[in-house]
């Protein structure tokens, strides 16, 4: 197991390097710079001397390959560089955003699993029925809503009209604050999970070993519990893993709408002011999260499915 984790961790390195390179290249040709963003408000002219000093200080006057090399050699020492914007180490900028982001991703996934999986199960019990068809339309509808639209709708209904929940903001330790953004973010994965669960249950219910279990005389609840559920779990684990892994990056719109201090909104803000080191750092964190979650999913696979060996 340790060897597996080590090997997978090493495998992440080329992926991360490729991500770094891609982001680096994209943002080396992007129009506008951190320097011009200082004047974007059309309000405070910034002294030309200051601008040239800034350029020097951030090494922006150096040629591209040198900048890439400097970045990579810093990274080798776990140094993500200095944020142009806040002038702090990039990690100090990213770190406070990490937990809110993870919390939102997990809660959204929790909602998705809590609603999506039972929905898929129920639909699969009577395949082809009106209930099945209806459940699937509802589930697919969840995939068909523009996020910010749905988020705004939730705000209006649950915060303003009903007054049940706060409409925005982040409160460490508060469950009430996370409900609306988590639902808005989780509705897509919810639909995917419902779909996968339904398909998985149908597939498993048709499997030969379930017929065997029936032939053994197992009552339906026991059958589902000890022979169907685990096998379905294997099937939906992939979907769940991919979704949790991707949620951190998908949360951009929701985070902006609900003023949620996650990595996604940091990323958008940093792109807007061309704070490239933070953009790099944030993308790396998002990618790393994806890769780590996928590794965890693979480990979970190995724990559930004896056919898969981690080494």
């Amino acid at each position: 197991m340790m060897r597996f984790i080590l090997r997978r961790t090493l495998q992440m390195i080329p992926t991360m390097l490729a991500v770094i390179l891609i982001i680096f290249v994209i943002f080396s040709v992007v129009p506008g710079s951190f320097i011009t963003s200082l004047m974007s408000e059309g309000r405070n002219a910034t002294n030309a001397q200051v601008l040239s000093h800034l350029n020097e200080q951030f090494g922006l006057d150096q040629p591209l390959p040198v900048r890439l090399w400097n970045y990579l050699s810093g990274l080798a020492h776990f140094d993500l560089g200095i944020s142009y914007r806040t002038r702090e180490p990039v990690w100090n900028v990213i770190e406070p955003r990490l937990w809110p982001s993870i919390k939102l991703a997990l809660c959204a996934m929790g909602f998705a699993a809590f609603v999506g999986i039972p929905l898929g199960f129920l639909a699969a019990l009577k395949p082809g029925s009106v209930f099945d068809s209806g459940t699937m339309v509802v589930a697919v509808s969840g995939l068909s809503l523009p996020e910010f639209w749905f988020g705004l709708l939730l705000m209006y209904v649950f915060a303003l009209n009903l007054g049940w929940l706060p409409s925005f903001g982040y409160q460490p330790g508060s469950i009430r604050h996370i409900i609306l953004p988590a639902i808005a973010l989780g509705v897509g994965p919810m639909a995917l999970l419902a779909r996968t669960t339904r398909a998985g249950v149908l597939d498993v219910m048709n499997a030969d070993f379930v017929r065997t279990a029936r032939a053994k005389g197992l009552a339906e609840p026991r059958l589902v519990r000890s022979h169907v559920a685990r096998n379905v779990l294997v099937l939906i684990l992939t979907t769940m893993g991919l979704q949790i892994g991707a949620l951190m990056g998908q949360a951009i719109v929701i985070e902006k709408l609900f003023s949620w201090p996650g990595i996604g909104s940091l990323l958008v803000d940093s792109v807007a002011v061309r704070d490239i080191p933070v953009v790099q750092g944030a993308v790396l964190v998002i990618v790393l999260w994806f890769l780590v979650i996928n590794m965890l999913v693979d480990i979970a696979y190995a724990l559930i499915d004896p056919r898969i060996k981690v080494s």
């Binding site: 080329p14 490729a18 697919v140 910010f148 779909r195 979907t239 951009i252 990323l267 792109v271």
Partner: protein, 273 residues
């Protein structure tokens, strides 16, 4: 027989949207850009304006119809690009194997790891808003699933009799890929592309919300919705109708894709759901 209704519903929605887009020039009562009457902005639905007017005094119905063109273009073209890239890379990787396969595999993993919205946002930042950049941003960032499926299908097809036979018969590699392998993977690719169209339409809306979508004043559902988000209380129709259009279109393509998948290969369900 299962879910036949859902497929029919999906097909109907898609046909409706396609008709709207194709016939926009004929049936739209107003010009979506030039017929702007600021004095009559934010008017509720009436006989003159079935879906009311927006903040600029333009006819919402006409803009929704013309917006269908943009949204469908975005959806179809970007998925076409994705499918071509994904299929070409996937098939060649599966067929040739070796270092090329490793490279494509690595690239696919990278593309999967970077969330497509983040990637699209970066590309839009470079190219600036507008239809061509949007097509590229969404077309270059979503091919990894197609590539994976194409690759694994090619791997399993490669060693089957008919491909081996074609090889012994002296067919060129390209010919074999084109005539023996490609037809066999078009089904799954089509399903992924269909489901992807809905995703692209939603991405357009999300990018518009983030301020990097279609270049105004060209109507797209995304920027209509984004522009109208503050009018929700005062002129809800300006936001509801483009929202419904997005919803119906994405729902339509998703149901259509689900149905296609069930028809083509029921076992794909668990692989691509």
């Amino acid at each position: 027989m299962s879910l036949r209704f859902n497929f029919a519903l999906g097909l109907a929605l898609v046909v409706l949207v396609v008709l709207g887009a194709v016939l926009a020039g004929l049936i739209a009562p107003y010009d979506p850009i030039m017929d702007a009457d600021l004095m009559n902005s934010e008017m509720p639905p009436s006989w003159e304006h079935w879906m009311g007017t927006d903040g600029q005094g333009r006819d919402v119905l006409s803009r929704v119809l013309y917006g269908a063109r943009v949204s469908l273009t975005v959806g179809l073209i970007s998925q076409l690009i994705n499918s071509v890239i994904g299929t070409a890379l996937g098939v060649s990787a599966g067929y040739f194997g070796g270092w090329w396969d490793d490279l494509v595999n690595g690239l696919t993993n990278v593309m999967l790891a970077i969330p497509s919205l983040v990637f699209a946002l970066a590309i839009m930042a470079v190219l600036g808003p507008g239809l061509p950049s949007l097509l590229l941003a969404l077309g270059l960032t979503n091919w990894s699933w197609t590539c994976r499926i194409a690759r694994s299908s090619t791997l399993s097809l490669k060693n089957q009799g008919f491909v081996q036979a074609a090889k012994t018969a002296g067919f060129g590699n390209f010919n074999i890929m084109r005539t023996q392998i490609l037809p066999n993977i078009l089904g799954p690719v089509l399903v992924i592309a269909t489901l992807g169209i809905g995703g692209a339409v939603l991405s357009e809306a999300a990018l518009s919300f983030l301020g990097v979508g279609i270049r105004p004043p060209q109507p797209s559902w995304g920027n209509m919705l984004s522009d109208a988000r503050e009018l929700i209380r005062t002129a809800p129709w300006a936001a509801i109708f483009p929202g419904l259009a997005i919803f119906a279109t994405v729902l339509g393509f998703n149901l259509l894709g689900d149905g296609l998948r069930d028809m083509l290969d029921p076992h794909m369900r668990t692989r691509t759901a």
